[in-house]
Amino acid sequence: MTDLPPFLLFYAAAIGAAILPHKARGLSMLLVPTAGAIAVLQLPDGLSVQLTLMSITLEPLRVDQLSRLFGILFHIGAFIGIVFSLHSKDRSQHVAALLYAGSALGAVFAGDLLTLFLFWEMLALTSVFLIFARRTERAYGAGIRYLVIQVISGVLLLAGALMIYHQSGSLSFGHIGLNGAASVLIFIAFGIKCAFPLLHNWLTDAYPEATPTGTVFLSAFTTKVAVYALARSFAGTEILVYIGATMTCFPIFYAVIENDLRRVLAYSMINQIGFMVVGIGLGTALAMNGAIAHAFNDVIFKGLLMMSMGAVLHMTGRMNGSDLGGLYKSMPITTTLCIVGAASISAFPLFSGFVSKSMVMVAVLEEGHPVVWLMLLFASAGVFHHAGIKIPFFAFFAHDSGIRTTEPPLNMLVAMGIAAILCVAIGVYPWVLYDLLPFEMKYSPFDGSHIIAQIQLLVFSAAAFAWLKVANIYPPELHSTNIDIEWLYRRLAPKWIRSIVETMKPAQESLSQVRQKAGKGMMRWILHHYGPEGTLARAWPTGSMVLWVAILLGASLILYYA
């Protein structure tokens, strides 16, 4: 029983959710991640289940500390997401969410690249329904773009995997490192899902268009599977340090001027993944543990922030900073829980982000990257600014928008409560998480110097926000779209294609004229020969036929004897 891959339980539950009535469905959906988590905790280290398919050895279940930690994390993420969506009557979303969570588990327990590819594509195919389920035209467009980009990532992964199989005869999903074309293809495939700079726009395009509950699932799985895959295959690849540092910095500028608060969180998500990517790029025990712990914490605190915004969207139908404000009056519990998430992502001491982020930062300095360190420090101040302050401030405080609502349904509050408790628990007692980390290291989480430094950074960032706001320098929230790299494929490419079609029009017309003329000419020629008056239609005398046959026979006779 214990050596069944964990995804099977979720896939089976998805079939159940497709049939069961509302209440039974909710109950079974709560049982699945609970039972699954217990089963995963009992999987022995080093367990490997293999099967041979047409002479290719596949490994649908590989258990080690890294895969088990992500396995536990995804069960927690799925449980919180399911509790948050219990009130929903939308069966299709529940089925999609279970299949999606199962696919994430399939991917992290995959021991070979082909199994990984399979779940890599399943992640895309199942999660897109959480975007479509919003049932708006915008969501439909964003979903299609999301799907296309995710499928491209899968195709690159498959191509890279097949090339590696061709070269080495093995499909093993282990350390790859950047060497040769096959590894570059896989690196880009992982990079797309990980939202590397320039490959990131699918995330900020699609996540804010999904349903209030859908975004909570989306933020938990896809990018974290990619972080896991990078940690598995590209640990210690130096270029990741610079890619990660860029990821921490550029999105925060967009986050400051973005109006849609869930899109602000999507940009901030890229910023947080940046810290993980830097850690993986360094590849030391401390950096890797920091990256993995930060991925763990991010699922919970980003989930909490997404849930609090989902609750606001669910209750008010609005998500723009410019339309919200003053909600602390009618949603005090949601406000408090959101602030817990904000404190965690900002890495306040005693909240979950603090220790994991400090580990990456210390590792960056120890490995001699002072410029990268300054970038990460800038991003740390920035994340507090846009996710820690901006999100709660514009949704719940700022000017009173006049919206009067109530707290969201109980299940939403419970889900946020669980996430908030985990944020504080891991923050206060980090050893629960740190004892599970895969690498041996010595690190004291509550070092006086780090705590003071972090408090100074945060307090003065808050002071900067307050000063800019009071002095009216802070940019107001405006209804707007900010151009990002997606402009290339949403605006420029369609424009080019249209203009190419336009310029081709005269050429096409003249081409069709030529075709018409040629057609007429050919018809005339055919009529000339075969028409009623044509040469070949004339009645020929039999005598001339006999004469020609005689000549041909004579000629062949001569040739035969010559």
């Binding site: 500028f253 400051v256 003065f460 900067a464």
Partner: protein, 83 residues
């Protein structure tokens, strides 16, 4: 029916928050003169390094982002319009 007054409907409560923030700034900055932080890099050893860096990072972030709006901001339905 008049609505119940909430905590930040009173201007003086906002002032209190701001004053508390100033006090926190002063105290956390002052700690640097009392407590010797151990450091990995010489930058960190500077007095008030984190405080000053944090403040200016945020101001620069916001000013640059404001500047970016001039280049990047379009109407909300930018991608929906076909022109």
């Amino acid at each position: 029916m008049t609505e119940r007054q909430h905590i930040f409907d009173h201007k003086k409560n906002i002032k209190r928050v701001l004053r508390a923030l100033i006090v926190l700034c002063v105290v956390s900055f002052a700690v640097d003169f009392v407590y010797h932080r151990h450091v990995v890099h010489p930058f960190e050893a500077l007095w008030g390094f984190y405080a000053i860096y944090g403040f200016f990072a945020c101001v620069i972030l916001v000013l640059l982002a404001k500047e970016m709006r001039k280049w990047l901001m379009r109407s909300e339905d930018y991608y929906e319009r076909d022109d």
